[in-house]
């Protein structure tokens, strides 16, 4: 089940190969009249970050993609008599991109869930997977089922059937569900002991077992699900064509050959094919909750949105506190320190400002995991705090330097030591100058805190995303989420304006 993580997607989006493809597309468009007889390419959307065996960048030519979903897409295209054209879309955005019409068909380990069938035109299932539980070798006997994991953390990919399964188990078995944006780190964190179990598709579990030593997967299926092809809801004609093509490929063995080639063929598949070819519209024992109508969904999700908002607020306040303390020390070091101190601090500031905070979060949470294993919330707090400290320090430095020299002269004549002058005269005045930009930064931090979902902290934006995936629409969750962010940031702006008014410095 291919998946997104924004860092990679950004890199990919600007990858020369992608631009090359864009250039190629414009060449095709410009020369289209000359090739009027050439059929339009079948644009198919998938996420290359999902990796093998679904869709991965071809190791021998990263500009190309390979995987069983790639071959199925190409099979469908060729049987429709159209050239296949790959469109890179982040896994979590595939549904929305299909609705927008970014591509004709989407397949990338996309699960058959009721919400998806409701908002999109979905094909017959083409592959059956089992949701399986993976644990550490040492815990093989201890943790055999979700029930035995009571009070423990169990990881999976957000917005999936497995995540719904874990949310249900939170209520019934008292486990804690941990949501990831991709499928690599749930397993590495399991091996490391950050979580005690992972529930995901058996295809992913098998891949993970090859990558991580010391893990074991229980063979029993916690649930059964299917992969499907999606198209825009109004594009039912194309869906019919895809269904017919898939059925033919099941009959003539083309699908089996693809699955065998990628080592994902098993006894479940012939049975699925039989059912698909026998009766149209097979429903698996998906175990997914029935789709809720919007008002009920809002009522059900509102408490979790507020809880997530509290995480956002707590994280932002604590990270800001860290940034203020550290930023002040850096600023003082840069104003009062010797040349060595000053240049060291300058390097820190430039590195933290010059690299993406997302990268810094990854390094702190995953990169340093072999040295220090920080809990996700602490890693998020430290990551945001260290990053914002760099920005704060620049604000404080210029504010300190903006306090008139004469103020310090006056203090010196009165007999204050350097430290007293800083504490009683310079810093209080600088703080008043720094207040407005600081408030700006805090509001920015409030919003930047949504980035920490990449290291499994479920804050407001992530919870909204889960909500939206569940009901198959961004409209209501998006509006609710925006309203909650505003409820947090507007009072802050008001408070800052009041303080600024009260502490207005001459010339301001």
């Amino acid at each position: 089940m291919p998946v997104s993580n924004a860092l990679f997607i950004r890199r990919l989006r600007y990858h020369p190969a992608v631009r090359l493809r864009a250039a190629w597309l414009s060449v095709i468009l410009l020369t289209a009249p000359l090739h009027a007889q050439t059929p339009a390419p079948l644009r198919w959307g998938g996420d290359a970050e999902g990796g093998a065996p679904f869709v991965e960048a071809d190791p021998s030519d990263p500009a190309r993609v390979a995987g069983f979903d790639v071959e199925i897409a190409e099979l469908i295209a060729s049987r429709l008599g159209r050239p296949a054209k790959f469109i890179q879309v982040a896994f979590q955005s595939l549904d929305q991109s299909a609705i927008r019409g970014d591509f004709d068909i989407g397949l990338s380990g996309i699960e058959d869930i009721p919400a998806r069938r409701q908002s999109l035109a979905a094909s017959v299932p083409y592959y059956e997977f089992r949701e399986v539980l993976t644990v550490r070798e040492a815990d093989r006997e201890r943790y055999r089922s979700l029930a035995s994991l009571q009070g423990r953390k169990v990881a999976t990919l957000g917005g999936t059937l497995a995540y719904d399964l874990l949310l249900a188990a939170e209520r019934s078995h008292g486990i804690t569900a941990v949501s990831y944006d991709e499928d690599v780190h749930p397993y590495s964190d399991l091996a490391m002991g950050r979580v005690d179990g992972v529930v995901l598709d058996h295809v992913l579990a098998e891949r993970a077992m090859r990558r991580n030593a010391g893990l074991v997967t229980h063979p029993d299926a916690l649930a059964v699900g299917h992969y499907i092809v999606i198209t825009a809801p109004e594009n039912t004609a194309l869906r019919e064509q895809v269904d017919a093509t898939l059925r033919n490929a099941m009959r003539d063995g083309a699908l089996e050959r693809i699955f065998r080639k990628w080592n994902v063929w098993n006894d479940d598949q012939p049975r699925l094919f039989e059912r698909v070819l026998g009766i149209a519209g097979v429903q698996g024992d998906s175990g997914a909750a029935a789709t809720l109508d919007t008002p009920r969904a809002v009522r059900r999700y509102l408490p979790s949105l507020f809880r997530a908002a509290l995480i956002t607020l707590a994280l932002s306040c604590l990270a800001m506190a860290l940034a203020v303390v550290l930023g002040s020390l850096i600023a003082i070091g840069r104003v009062y320190g010797g040349p060595a101190t000053r240049s060291m601090l300058m390097v820190y500031v430039e590195v933290m400002r010059g690299t993406p905070v997302l990268l810094q979060l990854f390094v702190i949470y995953y990169g340093l995991a072999s040295v220090i294993r920080l809990p996700a919330f602490v890693a998020a707090l430290v990551g945001l705090g260290l990053n914002y400290a760099a920005y704060e320090s620049e604000i404080y430095r210029s504010a300190l330097q903006a306090v008139p020299r004469g103020q310090m002269d006056a203090a010196r004549i009165l007999g204050f030591s350097n430290l007293q002058t800083l504490r009683l005269v310079r810093a209080p005045q600088a703080f008043r100058l720094a207040l407005a930009p600081m408030t700006n930064d805090f509001v920015a931090l409030l919003k930047d805190s949504s980035l920490v979902s990449v290291i499994t902290v479920v804050e407001l934006t992530k919870q909204t995303q889960i909500f939206a995936t569940n009901i198959g629409s961004w409209l209501v969750p998006g509006l609710l989420c925006a309203a909650i962010y505003l409820m947090m940031s507007l009072p802050l702006g008001y408070l800052a304006r009041r303080l600024e008014e009260r502490w207005r410095m001459p010339g301001q």
Binding site: Q407, L414, G415, F416, Q420, Q429, R432
Partner: protein
Amino acid sequence: MTPTLSIRSLSFTRGTRSILQCVNLEARAGEIVALMGLSGSGKTTILRIIAGLDTPDAGEVTAAKAGMVFQSHYLFEHLSAIDNVTLAPIHVHRVAAGTARERAQALLDQLGVGHRAGALPRELSGGEAQRVAIARALAVDPPLLLLDEPTASLDPARKNDLGDALRALAATGRALVMTSHDDEFVRTHATRVVVLANGAVVEEGDPRQVLDHPQHPATRELLEGWWAGWGSNPRPPD
């Protein structure tokens, strides 16, 4: 009696520019010494060196603890008038906050700005700010008080009040050194005048004597320039 302030052969250079050359100056308790001279003659630099803000290249400065009132006051902008006055007694001299406050209020009352004790510096007029600055300098009871252009922010009516206040301070045994462009003020209130030109003392003595019968061309230029510019520029630039 040893002088409160004694300067011998003082020289000061800023960059490549010579600001002061071999200046001698003394001030005793009870004296009000006025430094006069054209802009750039080095008056303010002498005050800064006495206060310890600038370090001379050569010469000897023996000065009692000095308080200073800057031309633009430099009141601490984030503190009320009375907090400006109590800050140094509380944090430098470890006076109890209550006691420091009482003394500060008394000082402000004495200088006629007691009713403005709670105001922030930006809410004060030029004259009020100056008197708060004087109170702040006096709060730590320095034997030597330095004032840079104290008449610059005052209207003529207020100048006499200031002069009376300065004389009262001198009468309590302090030495006062001020810079001024205002020869009328100096004539009336100073006990001695020192005229500077190009960083050197060119003339000094009793204010009436020196200003009514200037001996040195620089002193004459100072007074003529002053009068010549009176109509268009009543307050010469520093």
